[in-house]
């Protein structure tokens, strides 16, 4: 007898809210990869992971996701699961040596300016520099919470990824935004 395809709700993000994918783990992983790899790499870069290690971690995380699905693991919040696994690989695994604990946002993440004129570009750059400096003043957890929040995660998902309580995430986000608001 042929097994029915798995039905997995890809919940908890801007792009996947309410979306239900009826497919095999193979297709789910590749679909996830298409949608998430860039955002996941950005997260890893912003928490201080070197470029080459980012690639390896993203790759390994998606392989783990595949195994997770094959093993009929909990599929209720795969996006948060993927980030949690990636985060743990970056912080605790063999890639940890390639992750800077201080996580400066300076040279590691040079943004691409979209300003129409040179003057506007200069202003944008200055404002951006102020924000970066303020971000660098945050604690690692404050920065991680803000980055994940900026990527569309809800507090409970951030809590799951960083293994904190939801109330701790709320408090951390509040403090971090307070620091940034004063600085910029």
């Amino acid at each position: 007898m042929t097994r029915p395809p798995q039905t997995i709700a890809l919940s908890g993000s801007k792009w996947d809210a309410g979306c239900v994918v009826d497919s095999s783990p193979y297709r789910i992983v590749l679909e996830f990869y298409d949608r998430e790899r860039l955002a996941l790499e950005r997260y890893l870069r912003l928490v201080g992971v070197e470029v080459d290690a980012c690639r390896d971690i993203v790759h390994e995380a998606f392989l783990k996701l595949y195994e997770h699905l094959l093993a009929n693991g909990d599929a209720t919040n795969l996006r948060a699961w993927l980030y949690r696994v990636s985060h743990n690989l970056a912080m605790n695994g063999r890639h940890a040596a390639h992750t800077r604990r201080t996580e400066p946002l300076s040279e590691a993440v040079e943004p691409v300016s979209s300003a129409a004129s040179p003057e506007k570009a200069i202003l944008e750059r200055e404002a951006d520099l102020t924000l970066r400096n303020a971000m660098n003043e945050l604690t690692p957890n404050q920065r991680r919470c803000l980055i994940l929040r900026a990527q569309g995660f809800k507090y409970r998902q951030i809590a799951e990824i960083l293994q904190l309580s939801t109330s701790a995430v709320a408090e951390t986000v509040q403090r971090a935004l307070g620091v940034l608001k004063k600085a910029v």
């Binding site: 590749l30 790899r37 860039l38 783990k64 943004p111």
Partner: protein, 210 residues
């Protein structure tokens, strides 16, 4: 919800901004914001900072090339192909587990078809008796698998720690001979580093332990 001053606290404003409160609570905050310019200004400031953080995050350049997807797809396909019923199961890294398991390992490794060669590293009790087709990557010695393609560059290899069924290794020409009867279970697996080429195909294997 309101502070003694009669204004809404920052944490409440931020939870309202993030839609992290009940509809009842949100209605109260919303009603207050329509009549309180001070709270509305703070709410807008938090919103503006949040937008700037989002812009900063999304402007970070990325480096993962399109070709990486093909590598992943091939690895998934391969994993699917050899996973059942006697596939290679990747094993979540656990140093404690692997060290403990390796300590109890009593196996002999034979390579087919011949019986000559050099001793493998990190493998107590190994008898290398087959093709001396080993190579080094990142200081680690790998036994070349028969479906390895010598043309595939290994400059940026993916080394993945996996549980590899002994039966799968046998099919690849890498035979383990149990030294004790306890090790004779044909369904058992060994812990190994598997080197994948840029095309996602396994190039070599380095058995670590059981």
């Amino acid at each position: 919800m309101k502070e003694a001053s009669g204004h809404v606290a920052n944490d409440v404003l931020i939870r309202f901004l993030d839609e992290e409160m009940s509809p009842v609570e949100a209605n109260l905050v919303e009603a207050h914001l329509t009549v309180c310019e001070e709270c509305k200004a703070r709410y807008r400031e938090f919103g503006a900072v949040s937008v700037r953080v989002e812009a900063l995050v999304s402007s970070v350049p990325v480096s993962i090339a399109d070709g990486e997807r093909d590598v992943l797809a091939r690895q998934l396909h391969l994993s699917k192909k050899i996973k059942s019923p006697r596939g290679w199961t990747r094993f979540a890294s656990g140093a404690g587990w692997s060290l403990a398991a390796a300590a109890g390992l009593v196996l002999a490794l034979l390579f087919l078809p011949g019986r000559h060669g050099t001793t493998m590293s990190r493998m107590p009790g190994i008898i290398d008796a087959g093709r001396p087709q080993t190579f080094q990557v990142s200081g680690e010695t790998f036994v070349a698998l028969p479906y390895s393609n010598a043309e595939i560059p290994v400059s940026a290899p993916h080394i993945v720690e996996m549980q590899v069924p002994v039966s799968s290794l046998s099919e690849a020409g890498v035979i383990f001979e149990p030294v004790s009867l306890e090790q004779a279970n044909p369904d058992r697996a060994v812990l190994a580093d598997v080197l994948f080429g840029v095309d996602g195909e396994p190039l070599g294997v380095h058995v670590i332990g059981e």
